[in-house]
Protein backbone atom coordinates (compact mmCIF):
# COMPACT_ATOMS: atom_id res chain seq x y z
CA UNK A 1 0.00 0.00 0.00
CA UNK A 2 1.05 3.60 -0.53
CA UNK A 3 1.20 6.48 1.90
CA UNK A 4 2.08 10.08 1.13
CA UNK A 5 3.73 12.27 3.75
CA UNK A 6 3.72 16.02 3.20
CA UNK A 7 6.15 18.09 5.26
CA UNK A 8 5.17 21.43 6.76
CA UNK A 9 7.04 23.17 3.94
CA UNK A 10 5.06 21.31 1.28
CA UNK A 11 7.65 18.70 0.29
CA UNK A 12 5.83 15.44 -0.47
CA UNK A 13 7.19 11.92 -0.13
CA UNK A 14 5.37 8.77 -1.23
CA UNK A 15 6.34 5.54 0.48
CA UNK A 16 5.44 1.89 0.05
CA UNK A 17 4.22 0.38 3.32
CA UNK A 18 3.49 -3.13 4.55
CA UNK A 19 0.01 -3.53 6.03
CA UNK A 20 1.01 -4.71 9.47
CA UNK A 21 2.62 -1.80 11.30
CA UNK A 22 1.45 1.61 12.42
CA UNK A 23 1.80 4.94 10.69
CA UNK A 24 4.54 5.84 13.15
CA UNK A 25 6.57 2.74 12.24
CA UNK A 26 6.33 3.48 8.52
CA UNK A 27 7.41 7.06 9.08
CA UNK A 28 10.44 6.02 11.14
CA UNK A 29 11.42 3.22 8.74
CA UNK A 30 11.41 5.73 5.89
CA UNK A 31 13.09 8.55 7.87
CA UNK A 32 10.16 10.88 7.24
CA UNK A 33 11.18 14.33 8.55
CA UNK A 34 9.14 15.75 11.41
CA UNK A 35 8.21 12.49 13.16
CA UNK A 36 10.22 11.21 16.12
CA UNK A 37 8.12 8.56 17.90
CA UNK A 38 10.30 8.50 21.02
CA UNK A 39 8.27 6.11 23.18
CA UNK A 40 8.27 3.28 20.68
CA UNK A 41 4.56 3.48 19.93
CA UNK A 42 3.03 3.26 23.40
CA UNK A 43 1.06 6.50 23.25
CA UNK A 44 3.37 7.93 25.93
CA UNK A 45 5.36 10.73 24.27
CA UNK A 46 3.25 12.51 21.65
CA UNK A 47 6.23 12.88 19.31
CA UNK A 48 4.51 11.04 16.47
CA UNK A 49 1.96 13.84 16.00
CA UNK A 50 0.55 14.09 12.45
CA UNK A 51 -2.32 15.82 10.67
CA UNK A 52 -4.89 13.83 8.74
CA UNK A 53 -7.51 15.70 6.78
CA UNK A 54 -11.27 15.13 6.81
CA UNK A 55 -11.60 12.75 3.89
CA UNK A 56 -9.34 10.21 5.63
CA UNK A 57 -10.35 10.86 9.26
CA UNK A 58 -13.60 8.95 8.74
CA UNK A 59 -11.62 5.78 7.97
CA UNK A 60 -9.57 5.96 11.19
CA UNK A 61 -10.35 4.40 14.56
CA UNK A 62 -11.86 6.95 16.96
CA UNK A 63 -9.63 8.93 19.32
CA UNK A 64 -9.07 7.09 22.61
CA UNK A 65 -8.86 8.91 25.95
CA UNK A 66 -5.11 8.23 26.17
CA UNK A 67 -4.52 9.56 22.69
CA UNK A 68 -6.58 12.65 23.47
CA UNK A 69 -4.62 13.27 26.70
CA UNK A 70 -1.28 12.98 24.96
CA UNK A 71 -2.33 15.09 21.96
CA UNK A 72 -3.10 17.85 24.44
CA UNK A 73 0.67 18.20 24.89
CA UNK A 74 1.12 19.23 21.24
CA UNK A 75 1.37 23.03 20.80
CA UNK A 76 0.09 22.92 17.25
CA UNK A 77 -2.86 20.58 17.77
CA UNK A 78 -5.80 21.00 15.36
CA UNK A 79 -8.98 19.09 14.46
CA UNK A 80 -6.83 17.03 12.12
CA UNK A 81 -4.34 15.95 14.79
CA UNK A 82 -3.65 12.28 15.51
CA UNK A 83 -0.81 10.23 16.96
CA UNK A 84 0.81 8.11 14.28
CA UNK A 85 1.42 5.18 16.61
CA UNK A 86 -2.30 4.84 17.29
CA UNK A 87 -3.11 4.34 13.61
CA UNK A 88 -2.80 0.73 12.50
CA UNK A 89 -2.43 0.32 8.77
CA UNK A 90 -4.83 -1.76 6.72
CA UNK A 91 -6.18 -1.95 3.17
CA UNK A 92 -8.76 0.78 3.84
CA UNK A 93 -5.90 3.25 4.30
CA UNK A 94 -4.17 2.59 0.97
CA UNK A 95 -3.39 5.99 -0.51
CA UNK A 96 -3.52 7.80 2.85
CA UNK A 97 -2.22 11.37 2.86
CA UNK A 98 -0.55 12.59 6.05
CA UNK A 99 0.82 16.02 6.86
CA UNK A 100 3.69 16.28 9.35
CA UNK A 101 4.40 19.18 11.71
CA UNK A 102 7.52 21.33 11.73
CA UNK A 103 8.92 19.47 14.71
CA UNK A 104 8.05 17.41 17.77
CA UNK A 105 9.02 17.84 21.38
Amino acid sequence: MKITFIEYNGTAMEVEAAQDGTLRDVALDNLVPGIDGDCGGDCACATCHVFIDDEWQAKLPPLSDDEDTMLALCDDRTEASRLGCQIKLGPELDGLVVRTPEGQH
Binding site: D38, D42, A44, C45, L73, Q104, H105
Partner: protein, 421 residues
Protein backbone atom coordinates in the same frame (compact mmCIF):
# COMPACT_ATOMS: atom_id res chain seq x y z
CA UNK B 1 37.00 8.37 51.81
CA UNK B 2 36.61 4.73 50.85
CA UNK B 3 37.76 4.17 47.27
CA UNK B 4 34.99 3.64 44.76
CA UNK B 5 36.47 0.34 43.61
CA UNK B 6 36.18 -1.02 47.13
CA UNK B 7 32.58 0.14 47.55
CA UNK B 8 31.78 -1.38 44.16
CA UNK B 9 33.19 -4.75 45.02
CA UNK B 10 31.37 -4.85 48.38
CA UNK B 11 28.15 -3.89 46.58
CA UNK B 12 28.57 -6.58 43.93
CA UNK B 13 28.70 -9.21 46.64
CA UNK B 14 26.18 -7.72 49.07
CA UNK B 15 23.55 -6.91 46.44
CA UNK B 16 22.88 -10.64 45.98
CA UNK B 17 23.45 -11.86 49.53
CA UNK B 18 21.29 -9.58 51.72
CA UNK B 19 17.57 -10.30 52.12
CA UNK B 20 15.50 -8.32 49.60
CA UNK B 21 13.79 -6.42 52.39
CA UNK B 22 17.12 -4.89 53.46
CA UNK B 23 17.93 -3.41 50.07
CA UNK B 24 17.89 0.41 50.07
CA UNK B 25 18.66 1.86 46.64
CA UNK B 26 18.21 5.41 47.91
CA UNK B 27 21.60 5.45 49.66
CA UNK B 28 23.34 8.42 47.98
CA UNK B 29 26.78 6.95 48.69
CA UNK B 30 26.06 3.96 46.47
CA UNK B 31 25.11 6.31 43.64
CA UNK B 32 28.18 8.46 44.18
CA UNK B 33 30.50 5.44 44.09
CA UNK B 34 28.83 4.14 40.89
CA UNK B 35 28.12 1.00 42.91
CA UNK B 36 24.33 0.94 42.63
CA UNK B 37 24.03 -1.22 39.50
CA UNK B 38 24.02 -4.75 41.01
CA UNK B 39 21.24 -3.74 43.42
CA UNK B 40 19.07 -2.56 40.56
CA UNK B 41 19.87 -5.67 38.55
CA UNK B 42 18.68 -7.86 41.39
CA UNK B 43 15.53 -5.82 41.98
CA UNK B 44 14.60 -5.88 38.28
CA UNK B 45 14.99 -9.65 38.33
CA UNK B 46 13.55 -10.63 41.71
CA UNK B 47 11.39 -7.75 42.99
CA UNK B 48 10.60 -5.28 40.22
CA UNK B 49 8.20 -3.36 42.46
CA UNK B 50 10.01 -3.37 45.79
CA UNK B 51 9.32 -1.87 49.21
CA UNK B 52 11.95 -0.32 51.47
CA UNK B 53 10.27 0.16 54.87
CA UNK B 54 12.86 2.51 56.29
CA UNK B 55 15.56 4.77 54.86
CA UNK B 56 16.96 8.28 55.33
CA UNK B 57 14.14 9.32 53.00
CA UNK B 58 11.42 7.37 54.76
CA UNK B 59 9.58 4.36 53.38
CA UNK B 60 9.27 4.05 49.61
CA UNK B 61 8.46 1.75 46.70
CA UNK B 62 11.06 1.24 43.98
CA UNK B 63 9.88 0.62 40.43
CA UNK B 64 12.84 -0.59 38.39
CA UNK B 65 11.64 -2.05 35.07
CA UNK B 66 11.23 0.10 31.95
CA UNK B 67 7.67 -0.97 31.15
CA UNK B 68 6.45 -0.63 34.74
CA UNK B 69 7.86 2.89 34.95
CA UNK B 70 6.14 3.86 31.74
CA UNK B 71 2.95 2.39 33.07
CA UNK B 72 3.09 4.54 36.23
CA UNK B 73 3.79 7.66 34.17
CA UNK B 74 0.66 6.99 32.14
CA UNK B 75 -1.58 7.05 35.24
CA UNK B 76 -1.27 10.59 36.60
CA UNK B 77 -4.69 10.34 38.26
CA UNK B 78 -3.52 7.46 40.43
CA UNK B 79 0.12 8.47 40.82
CA UNK B 80 0.31 12.15 41.71
CA UNK B 81 3.10 14.68 41.15
CA UNK B 82 1.42 17.35 43.28
CA UNK B 83 3.78 19.32 45.56
CA UNK B 84 1.30 19.24 48.43
CA UNK B 85 1.31 15.42 48.37
CA UNK B 86 5.08 15.20 48.35
CA UNK B 87 6.14 16.35 44.91
CA UNK B 88 8.53 14.79 42.47
CA UNK B 89 11.65 13.68 44.33
CA UNK B 90 12.30 11.18 47.08
CA UNK B 91 13.20 13.99 49.48
CA UNK B 92 10.48 15.96 51.27
CA UNK B 93 10.66 19.51 52.56
CA UNK B 94 12.59 21.79 50.14
CA UNK B 95 10.89 25.23 50.23
CA UNK B 96 11.60 26.01 46.58
CA UNK B 97 9.59 22.92 45.69
CA UNK B 98 6.51 24.60 47.15
CA UNK B 99 6.58 27.38 44.53
CA UNK B 100 3.92 26.78 41.91
CA UNK B 101 5.75 24.78 39.21
CA UNK B 102 3.80 22.65 36.78
CA UNK B 103 6.28 19.78 37.01
CA UNK B 104 4.82 19.28 40.51
CA UNK B 105 1.14 19.78 39.65
CA UNK B 106 -1.59 17.38 38.55
CA UNK B 107 -4.15 18.04 35.81
CA UNK B 108 -5.96 20.27 35.10
CA UNK B 109 -3.63 22.94 36.54
CA UNK B 110 -0.58 21.24 35.10
CA UNK B 111 -1.98 21.12 31.58
CA UNK B 112 -2.90 24.79 31.45
CA UNK B 113 0.51 25.97 32.65
CA UNK B 114 2.51 23.61 30.52
CA UNK B 115 0.70 24.86 27.43
CA UNK B 116 2.03 28.32 28.11
CA UNK B 117 5.68 27.37 28.42
CA UNK B 118 5.80 24.60 25.84
CA UNK B 119 5.85 26.72 22.63
CA UNK B 120 8.91 28.60 23.90
CA UNK B 121 11.06 25.51 23.63
CA UNK B 122 9.40 24.12 20.50
CA UNK B 123 11.80 23.24 17.66
CA UNK B 124 10.92 26.25 15.46
CA UNK B 125 11.78 28.66 18.28
CA UNK B 126 14.97 26.83 19.11
CA UNK B 127 16.07 27.30 15.52
CA UNK B 128 16.24 31.03 16.28
CA UNK B 129 18.65 30.41 19.16
CA UNK B 130 20.87 27.93 17.36
CA UNK B 131 23.32 30.41 15.81
CA UNK B 132 23.93 32.21 19.07
CA UNK B 133 24.39 28.97 21.01
CA UNK B 134 26.84 27.74 18.38
CA UNK B 135 28.80 30.98 18.41
CA UNK B 136 29.11 30.96 22.19
CA UNK B 137 30.06 27.28 22.23
CA UNK B 138 32.74 27.85 19.59
CA UNK B 139 34.21 30.79 21.50
CA UNK B 140 34.54 28.69 24.60
CA UNK B 141 36.12 25.73 22.87
CA UNK B 142 38.69 27.99 21.20
CA UNK B 143 39.79 29.16 24.64
CA UNK B 144 40.46 25.68 26.06
CA UNK B 145 44.04 24.77 27.00
CA UNK B 146 45.76 22.19 24.80
CA UNK B 147 48.08 19.38 25.88
CA UNK B 148 47.52 19.94 29.57
CA UNK B 149 45.06 18.53 32.08
CA UNK B 150 42.01 20.56 33.05
CA UNK B 151 38.58 19.94 34.63
CA UNK B 152 35.98 19.35 31.93
CA UNK B 153 33.07 19.85 34.33
CA UNK B 154 34.15 23.35 35.30
CA UNK B 155 35.69 24.56 32.06
CA UNK B 156 33.26 23.07 29.56
CA UNK B 157 30.04 21.68 31.04
CA UNK B 158 29.31 24.35 33.66
CA UNK B 159 30.70 27.14 31.54
CA UNK B 160 28.58 26.24 28.50
CA UNK B 161 25.34 25.47 30.36
CA UNK B 162 25.57 28.82 32.12
CA UNK B 163 26.03 30.60 28.79
CA UNK B 164 23.13 28.72 27.28
CA UNK B 165 20.81 29.59 30.14
CA UNK B 166 21.82 33.21 29.67
CA UNK B 167 21.01 32.84 25.95
CA UNK B 168 17.64 31.28 26.66
CA UNK B 169 16.62 34.08 29.03
CA UNK B 170 18.57 36.81 27.19
CA UNK B 171 20.00 37.42 30.65
CA UNK B 172 22.64 40.16 31.17
CA UNK B 173 25.73 38.27 30.06
CA UNK B 174 28.12 39.61 32.69
CA UNK B 175 25.75 38.48 35.49
CA UNK B 176 25.14 35.02 34.05
CA UNK B 177 26.84 33.21 36.97
CA UNK B 178 23.76 34.20 38.99
CA UNK B 179 21.62 31.76 36.98
CA UNK B 180 23.84 28.83 37.94
CA UNK B 181 23.95 30.10 41.50
CA UNK B 182 20.16 30.23 41.77
CA UNK B 183 19.90 26.75 40.32
CA UNK B 184 22.35 25.47 42.94
CA UNK B 185 20.42 27.31 45.66
CA UNK B 186 17.21 25.62 44.59
CA UNK B 187 18.62 22.09 44.68
CA UNK B 188 21.19 22.09 47.48
CA UNK B 189 20.69 20.62 50.95
CA UNK B 190 20.90 23.04 53.90
CA UNK B 191 24.26 22.44 55.59
CA UNK B 192 26.04 21.30 52.42
CA UNK B 193 27.93 24.60 52.14
CA UNK B 194 25.73 27.07 50.27
CA UNK B 195 22.97 27.66 52.82
CA UNK B 196 22.32 26.66 56.40
CA UNK B 197 18.55 26.80 56.55
CA UNK B 198 15.35 27.04 54.50
CA UNK B 199 15.12 30.71 55.57
CA UNK B 200 18.47 31.41 53.97
CA UNK B 201 17.30 29.65 50.86
CA UNK B 202 14.25 31.90 50.66
CA UNK B 203 16.38 35.06 50.97
CA UNK B 204 18.28 34.03 47.84
CA UNK B 205 15.07 33.07 46.08
CA UNK B 206 13.73 36.53 46.79
CA UNK B 207 16.83 38.09 45.21
CA UNK B 208 16.19 36.03 42.10
CA UNK B 209 12.56 37.15 42.07
CA UNK B 210 13.57 40.81 42.17
CA UNK B 211 16.15 40.46 39.41
CA UNK B 212 13.80 38.56 37.12
CA UNK B 213 10.94 40.97 37.75
CA UNK B 214 13.15 43.87 36.72
CA UNK B 215 14.02 42.09 33.46
CA UNK B 216 10.36 41.27 32.90
CA UNK B 217 9.39 44.90 33.20
CA UNK B 218 12.03 45.87 30.65
CA UNK B 219 10.85 43.18 28.20
CA UNK B 220 7.17 44.07 28.52
CA UNK B 221 8.05 47.54 27.31
CA UNK B 222 10.24 46.55 24.39
CA UNK B 223 9.81 44.71 21.08
CA UNK B 224 9.07 40.95 21.39
CA UNK B 225 12.21 38.80 21.13
CA UNK B 226 12.88 35.03 20.98
CA UNK B 227 13.93 34.72 24.64
CA UNK B 228 11.86 33.10 27.40
CA UNK B 229 11.17 36.31 29.31
CA UNK B 230 10.11 38.27 26.30
CA UNK B 231 7.83 35.48 25.12
CA UNK B 232 6.17 35.18 28.51
CA UNK B 233 5.86 38.97 28.77
CA UNK B 234 4.19 39.27 25.36
CA UNK B 235 1.88 36.25 25.42
CA UNK B 236 -1.78 36.83 26.27
CA UNK B 237 -1.82 33.72 28.41
CA UNK B 238 1.11 34.68 30.62
CA UNK B 239 1.19 38.45 30.73
CA UNK B 240 -0.91 38.39 33.90
CA UNK B 241 0.72 35.54 35.81
CA UNK B 242 0.78 35.94 39.58
CA UNK B 243 4.21 36.74 41.07
CA UNK B 244 4.41 33.23 42.58
CA UNK B 245 3.57 31.58 39.30
CA UNK B 246 6.13 33.72 37.51
CA UNK B 247 8.81 32.81 40.03
CA UNK B 248 7.85 29.13 39.94
CA UNK B 249 8.18 29.04 36.16
CA UNK B 250 11.53 30.87 36.30
CA UNK B 251 12.95 28.35 38.75
CA UNK B 252 11.55 25.43 36.82
CA UNK B 253 13.28 26.56 33.64
CA UNK B 254 16.55 27.49 35.35
CA UNK B 255 16.80 24.25 37.31
CA UNK B 256 15.27 21.98 34.66
CA UNK B 257 17.87 22.84 32.08
CA UNK B 258 20.93 23.24 34.24
CA UNK B 259 22.33 20.14 35.94
CA UNK B 260 20.71 17.79 33.45
CA UNK B 261 22.39 19.30 30.42
CA UNK B 262 25.64 19.93 32.29
CA UNK B 263 25.97 16.32 33.33
CA UNK B 264 25.13 15.06 29.85
CA UNK B 265 28.00 17.18 28.54
CA UNK B 266 30.39 15.48 30.95
CA UNK B 267 28.82 12.03 30.70
CA UNK B 268 29.08 11.87 26.92
CA UNK B 269 32.81 12.42 26.96
CA UNK B 270 33.29 9.88 29.73
CA UNK B 271 31.18 7.29 27.89
CA UNK B 272 33.19 7.70 24.68
CA UNK B 273 36.46 7.33 26.58
CA UNK B 274 35.19 4.19 28.29
CA UNK B 275 34.17 2.77 24.89
CA UNK B 276 37.12 3.52 22.57
CA UNK B 277 35.62 1.45 19.75
CA UNK B 278 32.55 3.69 19.77
CA UNK B 279 34.73 6.81 19.82
CA UNK B 280 36.43 5.45 16.67
CA UNK B 281 33.08 4.80 14.99
CA UNK B 282 32.01 8.35 15.77
CA UNK B 283 35.25 9.88 14.51
CA UNK B 284 34.87 7.93 11.26
CA UNK B 285 31.26 9.05 10.87
CA UNK B 286 30.48 12.39 12.54
CA UNK B 287 26.97 12.28 11.02
CA UNK B 288 26.10 10.03 13.95
CA UNK B 289 26.05 13.07 16.25
CA UNK B 290 22.73 14.12 14.78
CA UNK B 291 21.09 10.73 14.30
CA UNK B 292 21.98 8.73 17.39
CA UNK B 293 24.90 9.93 19.51
CA UNK B 294 22.97 12.60 21.38
CA UNK B 295 20.00 10.49 22.52
CA UNK B 296 22.35 7.65 23.40
CA UNK B 297 24.36 10.00 25.64
CA UNK B 298 21.15 11.05 27.38
CA UNK B 299 20.05 7.44 27.89
CA UNK B 300 23.45 6.29 29.10
CA UNK B 301 23.85 9.21 31.50
CA UNK B 302 20.23 9.36 32.76
CA UNK B 303 20.83 12.82 34.33
CA UNK B 304 17.86 12.46 36.67
CA UNK B 305 18.14 9.10 38.40
CA UNK B 306 14.51 9.09 39.48
CA UNK B 307 11.20 10.90 39.66
CA UNK B 308 8.74 10.37 42.45
CA UNK B 309 4.97 9.94 42.54
CA UNK B 310 2.57 9.57 45.47
CA UNK B 311 -0.32 7.10 45.32
CA UNK B 312 -3.71 8.84 45.36
CA UNK B 313 -5.54 5.65 46.30
CA UNK B 314 -4.91 2.05 47.33
CA UNK B 315 -3.96 0.15 44.22
CA UNK B 316 -2.57 -3.20 43.18
CA UNK B 317 0.35 -2.66 40.84
CA UNK B 318 2.38 -5.49 39.30
CA UNK B 319 1.16 -7.79 42.06
CA UNK B 320 2.06 -5.46 44.93
CA UNK B 321 -0.40 -3.62 47.14
CA UNK B 322 0.47 0.06 47.11
CA UNK B 323 -1.45 2.15 49.64
CA UNK B 324 -2.84 5.62 49.39
CA UNK B 325 -0.11 8.09 50.39
CA UNK B 326 2.80 5.75 49.61
CA UNK B 327 5.90 7.19 47.98
CA UNK B 328 6.61 5.56 44.62
CA UNK B 329 10.06 6.05 43.10
CA UNK B 330 10.47 5.47 39.36
CA UNK B 331 14.17 4.65 38.95
CA UNK B 332 14.86 5.83 35.40
CA UNK B 333 18.48 4.91 35.93
CA UNK B 334 17.43 1.27 36.32
CA UNK B 335 14.78 1.28 33.58
CA UNK B 336 17.36 2.57 31.12
CA UNK B 337 19.43 -0.55 31.85
CA UNK B 338 16.49 -2.98 31.62
CA UNK B 339 17.50 -5.82 29.35
CA UNK B 340 13.80 -6.62 28.80
CA UNK B 341 13.25 -3.37 26.90
CA UNK B 342 16.66 -2.23 25.69
CA UNK B 343 19.10 -4.24 23.63
CA UNK B 344 22.56 -4.54 25.27
CA UNK B 345 21.57 -1.88 27.80
CA UNK B 346 24.89 -1.66 29.61
CA UNK B 347 26.78 -0.79 26.47
CA UNK B 348 27.17 2.68 25.07
CA UNK B 349 26.46 2.36 21.34
CA UNK B 350 26.83 5.47 19.17
CA UNK B 351 24.81 4.05 16.29
CA UNK B 352 22.09 2.38 18.36
CA UNK B 353 18.85 1.57 16.52
CA UNK B 354 15.88 3.60 17.85
CA UNK B 355 18.13 5.51 20.30
CA UNK B 356 15.29 7.76 21.44
CA UNK B 357 13.54 4.93 23.23
CA UNK B 358 14.82 5.73 26.71
CA UNK B 359 13.34 6.95 29.99
CA UNK B 360 15.62 9.91 30.70
CA UNK B 361 12.96 12.49 29.76
CA UNK B 362 10.13 10.60 31.42
CA UNK B 363 6.88 9.75 29.59
CA UNK B 364 3.27 10.83 29.75
CA UNK B 365 1.93 14.27 30.53
CA UNK B 366 5.06 15.43 32.42
CA UNK B 367 7.50 14.34 29.74
CA UNK B 368 10.37 16.82 29.57
CA UNK B 369 9.28 19.88 27.67
CA UNK B 370 12.91 21.00 27.18
CA UNK B 371 14.01 17.75 25.55
CA UNK B 372 14.80 19.21 22.14
CA UNK B 373 16.64 22.15 23.68
CA UNK B 374 18.85 19.75 25.63
CA UNK B 375 19.49 17.73 22.49
CA UNK B 376 20.28 20.86 20.51
CA UNK B 377 22.92 21.96 23.00
CA UNK B 378 24.58 18.56 22.98
CA UNK B 379 24.47 18.31 19.21
CA UNK B 380 26.15 21.68 18.79
CA UNK B 381 28.78 20.78 21.38
CA UNK B 382 29.72 17.53 19.65
CA UNK B 383 29.65 19.01 16.17
CA UNK B 384 32.01 21.75 17.27
CA UNK B 385 34.26 19.37 19.23
CA UNK B 386 34.69 16.93 16.36
CA UNK B 387 35.37 19.73 13.94
CA UNK B 388 38.30 20.92 16.08
CA UNK B 389 39.61 17.59 17.34
CA UNK B 390 38.45 14.91 14.89
CA UNK B 391 40.64 11.96 15.89
CA UNK B 392 39.45 9.18 18.19
CA UNK B 393 40.53 9.66 21.83
CA UNK B 394 41.95 13.07 21.04
CA UNK B 395 39.88 14.43 23.91
CA UNK B 396 41.22 12.13 26.57
CA UNK B 397 39.85 11.50 30.04
CA UNK B 398 43.00 11.33 32.17
CA UNK B 399 41.68 10.22 35.55
CA UNK B 400 38.67 9.09 37.54
CA UNK B 401 35.57 11.31 37.61
CA UNK B 402 34.34 12.54 40.98
CA UNK B 403 30.59 11.85 41.10
CA UNK B 404 27.85 13.85 42.84
CA UNK B 405 26.54 12.66 46.21
CA UNK B 406 22.88 12.33 45.27
CA UNK B 407 20.25 9.75 44.42
CA UNK B 408 18.43 12.28 42.21
CA UNK B 409 20.98 14.21 40.16
CA UNK B 410 23.26 11.75 38.46
CA UNK B 411 26.38 13.61 37.48
CA UNK B 412 29.90 14.76 38.11
CA UNK B 413 31.75 17.16 40.38
CA UNK B 414 34.87 16.91 38.24
CA UNK B 415 36.34 15.07 35.25
CA UNK B 416 40.05 15.47 34.41
CA UNK B 417 40.67 15.77 30.68
CA UNK B 418 43.51 16.53 28.29
CA UNK B 419 43.10 17.61 24.69
CA UNK B 420 45.91 16.11 22.64
CA UNK B 421 46.59 18.50 19.81
Amino acid sequence: MQANAEIQSVAAERAYSVPLSEIDVSDPKLHQADAIWPYFSRLRQEAPVHYTPDSDFGAFWSVTRYKDIMNIEMQPKTFSSEAARGGITIMDGNEVATLPMFIAMDPPKHDAQRKVVSPIVAPHNLAKLEDLIRQRTAERLDELPLNEEFDWVQEVSINLTTKMLATLFDFPYEDRHLLTHWSDIATTLPGAGLIDSEEERMVEVQACAEYMTRLWNERVNSEPGPDVLSMLAHSDKTRNMSPEEFLGNMFLLIVGGNDTTRNSMSGGLLALNQHPGEYEKLAANPELVQSSLVPEIIRWQTPLAHMRRTANTDIEFAGEKIRKGDKVIMWYVSGNRDERSIDRPNEFIVDRQRPRQHLSFGFGIHRCVGNRLAELQLRILWEELLQRWPDPMQIEVTGQPQRILSNFIKGYESLPVRINA
